[in-house]
Symmetry: C2
Subunit: 170 residues, 2 copies
């Protein structure tokens, strides 16, 4: 399936000079949505994934259907102050300023096999912070799944050694 034909390009969003890859047009297409979930499922089906981690908020869109198909649990990685239990936190740098991600300390038992999903791999800051965030959990990071990679930004180089899968590359 030609996924790029279902992704809409919107110039100058969220600010001038940025070409935004809008995946909402893909999500609203039943065949496109089905194809994306089925492809991710095929890719990770033999990897004995225990938990799929979705990064707030567009990572949630792919995380739960993938966990459902893989027979895994789903764990949200959230912005500060959203998770009610005891959390691990990880700060990371943005173009201007810093941001922070959190995960529940009891999200996954030690030794679990984890998969991290998000819609977009751009500069890699968020994904790399998530990989650092889970270090105290003493689990195995099997891989990442991204719908879209902006390969010119070289975000992949920030990620730890693991299985990085992308369905659409620009």
């Amino acid at each position: 399936m030609d996924l790029k034909s279902l992704i809409r390009d919107i110039p100058d969003f969220p600010k001038s000079g940025i070409l935004f890859r809008d995946i909402t047009t893909l999500l609203q297409n039943p065949e496109g949505l089905r194809y994306v979930i089925d492809r991710f499922t095929e890719i990770f089906a033999e990897q004995s994934i225990d938990y799929v981690l979705g990064i707030e908020s567009r990572g949630f869109l792919f995380g739960t259907p993938l966990a459902y198909n893989l027979g895994a649990g789903f764990v949200p990685v959230r912005k500060p102050g959203k998770l009610p239990g005891a959390v691990h936190g990880q700060d990371y740098e943005l173009e201007y300023g810093t941001d922070r991600l959190e995960i529940h300390q009891d999200a996954c038992p030690q030794g679990s096999r984890l998969l991290i999903v998000d819609d977009l791999l751009a500069t890699g800051g968020t994904a790399a912070a998530t990989a650092k965030l889970i270090e105290p959990l003493a689990c195995t990071l099997v891989g990442f799944g991204f719908l879209v990679e902006l390969s010119g930004l070289a975000g992949r180089q920030k990620l730890p050694e693991c299985d990085i899968n992308v369905l659409v590359e620009y």
Copy 2:
């Protein structure tokens, strides 16, 4: 399945006096996640749903797997400034101040059959605002699906006449 046994109660979150119903413990349980998605699927399977609308951000968790199972498209209802295309917007009142939801104007063709999902029906402000938000789309609102209802808050009374389904009631 006893879903309440998978939902964790956290007192005084996000502020003193609130008993927070934490669904992350349900999501991380593979059988619990599967049961919830399968139940929603059964409930709406015969309703010819064209689009499932998920309200940011916990509504995303149930919206995409349900759309996938129903063979429908998924449409995000988001906070202001997140959707890159032309939007309809709807303001609504919070306890202190106001908030706003947006949907893409071209999210669903006129006459589509829509289902709105979210994790929680509390005072009903967000869900009622979503029902108003979609009025300009000239679609049919078939119903709502909520994982949890706090029935003492009577949010249901704010919603339009349609099929309201809840899996766990407190």
